[in-house]
Symmetry: D2
Subunit: 336 residues, 4 copies
């Protein structure tokens, strides 16, 4: 029996029509390569409008690469980046930050549902600077978090202030910033909050592979294309990375369809017969489930993952239907 992957991740979904249509529209005529084309310019303008900032914008095909490349831009090899111990950069990138950053370190801190607590961040930011450890040069936040939790502006503000007070740079892993935006976080606040770089996701939001690198600190844009090329991240036919953004942002689908994904998670949580372990603030539902039950769920045809904290994760996306939620809820009820 083939598995249904609907809830396995938000990257198992196809591209939404808006993205695909924009991609088809971009496939007209000849265009300069390496991001110097009209499609890339227009998409960058739309992202600048989204974040209300005259930032430099680039597009890459992988979120892992976008994170790792930008962390390496903000911290030297002998320095470290403060991040959540369960963040994507710490747990799900196969050491990519260390590769892009030539041994760059991560300082992994705790906090509920993937949100960093303030106290350990303050402590790490203020720790004595010795030659025997990699001292922090940046703080990376993920919004929404790996557990679907939302950082609200005030949460971010406190962490950002603690980081900036010690001269740290500020990095956003916004692979699911669309879901955060739909849940109430305003991307226009990123620049005033002091972010130096944000990675903003289109892939999980429903595009073909594309993530935007937003350089709020325009000084960092110097030779950034060369940095991308050197790191294997400058795609020649750049218009195809930029195009889906036009579909997502011009139509409002980036936020609207994230709102749908979030709503599907809320619906699933409401019907969930297992204990929900993290606040359902965006598009994921994490539940307590023992191994035999998970095996039976797999046997029933629904593929989902056991996550880092031991919970079982159900992710919704733009493509999740009410019917699918009802079907999986029924399957879960049969197992509970």
């Amino acid at each position: 029996m083939a598995h249904r992957y609907d809830f396995a991740s938000d990257n198992v979904a196809p591209a939404m029509p808006e993205a695909l249509q924009a991609l088809i529209a971009a496939n007209e005529g000849f265009a300069a390569g390496y991001g110097a084309d009209h499609v890339s310019r227009r998409a960058a303008d739309l992202i600048r409008a989204l974040v209300d900032s005259d930032a430099e914008v680039r597009f890459v095909p992988s979120g892992t690469a976008a994170n790792a490349l930008t962390l390496a831009t903000l911290a030297s090899p002998h320095e470290a980046v403060i991040c959540h111990e369960h963040s994507h950069v710490a747990t799900d990138e196969t050491g990519a930050p260390g590769f892009f950053g030539s041994g760059l370190g991560l300082i992994r801190l705790g906090g509920g549902s993937g949100r960093l607590d303030l106290a350990p961040v303050v402590a790490a930011a203020n720790a004595p600077d010795t030659a025997h450890h990699q001292s922090p040069a940046a703080l990376s936040l993920t919004n929404t978090t790996e557990y679907g939790a939302l950082y609200r502006e005030t949460d971010v503000g406190a962490l950002a202030a603690a980081a900036k007070a010690q001269g740290l740079r500020l990095h956003l892993d916004g692979a699911r910033l669309a879901n955060a935006t739909a849940a109430g976080f305003d991307p226009k606040r990123l620049a005033p909050l002091g972010f130096d770089i944000a990675v903003i996701g289109a892939t999980k939001a429903g595009a073909t592979p594309s993530e935007a690198i937003v350089l709020f600190d325009r000084q960092l844009a110097r030779r950034f294309d060369a940095r991308m090329k050197h790191a294997g991240q400058l795609v020649s036919k750049g218009r195809f990375l930029a195009a889906p953004w036009i579909g997502l942002l011009e139509t409002g689908a980036w936020t609207a369809r994230a709102a749908h994904a979030n709503a599907m998670a809320t619906k699933l949580a409401a019907a969930m017969p297992f204990r929900v372990l993290h606040p359902v603030e965006s598009n994921g539902v994490f539940v307590e489930m023992d191994e035999p039950t998970l095996k039976r769920l797999h046997a029933a045809g629904w593929f989902v993952y056991r996550f880092i904290d031991g919970s079982v994760r159900f992710m919704c996306s733009w493509a999740t239907t009410d019917a699918a939620v009802e079907e999986v809820a029924a399957a879960l009820k049969a197992l509970a």
Copy 2:
């Protein structure tokens, strides 16, 4: 006046209909991520058929990354790769092989029209192994070359034999292998010739961004997905990198449209009023042109590049039309 980019490169062309239709067809339903999907499997099967080998196949969005990652797979950081001094890996990748290979060296050798001469390769492969230099671990060939020249099977065979005799690994930069195939090189000969890894291009052949990494030596596939992820090259929605290959290979368009591109170059060369500096064996025409003339060509609206050897390069692609060749030929005649 807007420039026409038709002849600036073969990566300024849009994607061919076969590629786009396959991409649209792949956008159905949910699919496992990171290359474990049905689209990727089918595309890999098609590539195995193309090269007549039970090789492992992966897809990445950038040829520079594909080259750099695979060179780093074949040579250790304290070793070097023998390549042509004008090869893409040596001149057009912003040092990416050194980045992916942690300081991996390149031994840059000469030869006409981008084809390596045998004698210097033999000499480099047999040079004394000292601790003060990066000794060669691999030989990288590019077919067709940066100058549009074709390595024939016998050329490759002699170079491959010299490399293999010294225990070197064999790497193909096949960004334009479609053009080489259309010009008479049989991809089924790669495995018997001893290639360990080939990078085979779809991007310049007329796809959305995608290059195939073909691991003829299946031992190299161990943990290769982790290697890709670590290096920021494992795209989550992998089906969109694999899909265009289905369109290109199932229809025969990969070769057929490369044959068209080659024919357009032949047609342009025939009409070319400037001295042609390299044999026109595939889709490029390289001519002698002084700087004032090039400026006037640009002023006339045609954007083309001055290449590494000082020649001016005209590249044809699947999308080059007879009309465009005639137009640019007329513009050139007016300048000559």
Copy 3:
């Protein structure tokens, strides 16, 4: 008031007379560079005798570099090394393994007093191999550990067997192997136990800066000098790194003086008025001490460090005298 550093570390001691005399003796006439000299050959022979193995031997000036370089020899960048969470490679090398290994990962596991427990090592060695994590390629043990504890041969044997059963390579950080040897571990057992590489320390044992890299797997010696040179570890006047080993090993001082250091720690532990937190099996004594007391100890002129686990560390060396032990014990009694 100047601090006394006697107990701050075993690297604050001067070089023992045997080391210095050998260094002076080596300073005769001209000698080939880069380790190809007669002094290096003789020292390597002595190390081969010490470990009873026809291993390849090299000398480097830093233990951090020796560890990082050899871990990078045993694991690829997208792989990881299993180590103790408090091991030197994990906590005291400023990320050097990640630098030498281009983002190489560490899998940090627990165990009392710096000794790895078997169960988590077995679990890590047998964990599923996925592309999203750095899977283990090697196991690194430290003998004696950061807390002065000794791995006995049977302890090592069980861990080594678990590692080898899963195809992992085996690495020894033997910065204090002299102390382990004096405490009963036989270096001749390293090869039969399956170690691929051992780093054996002279610096902390009482030499001028020098650590030996012992390649039990002679295959790894291929182009190893080039690997060292590439990584900035091939010193031109190599005889000065090799020479102290002749003094240490020909006279038996490497073990005999480590036995003295161990005895001084035993003596200090016996007189220690604070609670001793780790078994005193070699040359360190780790005690419970609150911050005000530590400050008073510093104020009394004795500089010692608070260690990773919160204990306060007193290290003895070849140069520690009975009188110094009695003096510091008296100072401690005055504070207790």
Copy 4:
């Protein structure tokens, strides 16, 4: 028959008495580790006096490492360093700059006897900045050069001005700065000339292994110890790297004995029966010699190297005696 290495290199010589005596003197009592000791402070003061600048000073055991680490401090991985095509960093470091700099590039330019010509440096410094190449971030000069030639202050000034005009950083490989100083170059001019970092050699000047890293731009000293530790270059018993400098500089031997080495080369050049190919401005004599003659010289017991440009190199050192010069000259006459 054993070879005589007297003229093979200036690193085959033993350490001079002044260096060894200082090293012995430094071996007193306990001292803080990692360069925080009194010996390191005193040696750093002497170097600050030598260069007449309040620079930060560090000591490392290898010139290759010192160069590679400091180039990586001045240029990012996607950038390049302009250097002479025959410079040590380009030809004799097994790619170490690329390793320390994570793929850092070198722009190799020409010029007689290892001295960079001004015109190509100006051209490289002013070349258009594109994403497809590694654009220059620094200029590295070597004084004296690999061919024993001297850059005079005016030579350096012109090159430095060209570099600084384009915002490039300035790096000195001063492995043989002692010989340059003895030949008339004043180290006190380094800071006014705009050098950001200089590597100043003691090893070839006649010490045990030690090179000084001089950070004229003190901003670069931030976290530099961590950078060294991360790169395996922070030796724990740092006093033994610093000590020889005290012997070399307090006695004036660094310059005086370099003057002797230079004089020995002048004497050898005067007696040389083969054509001298480079100006004898310091301690090396490079001559035209065919392969059979070189083999006969080797057979006569004198080991010397054929150098990069095909010449045969005779290096003199502090330890070269008049008698040895006369002996080798006689041997050469017998072959000529």
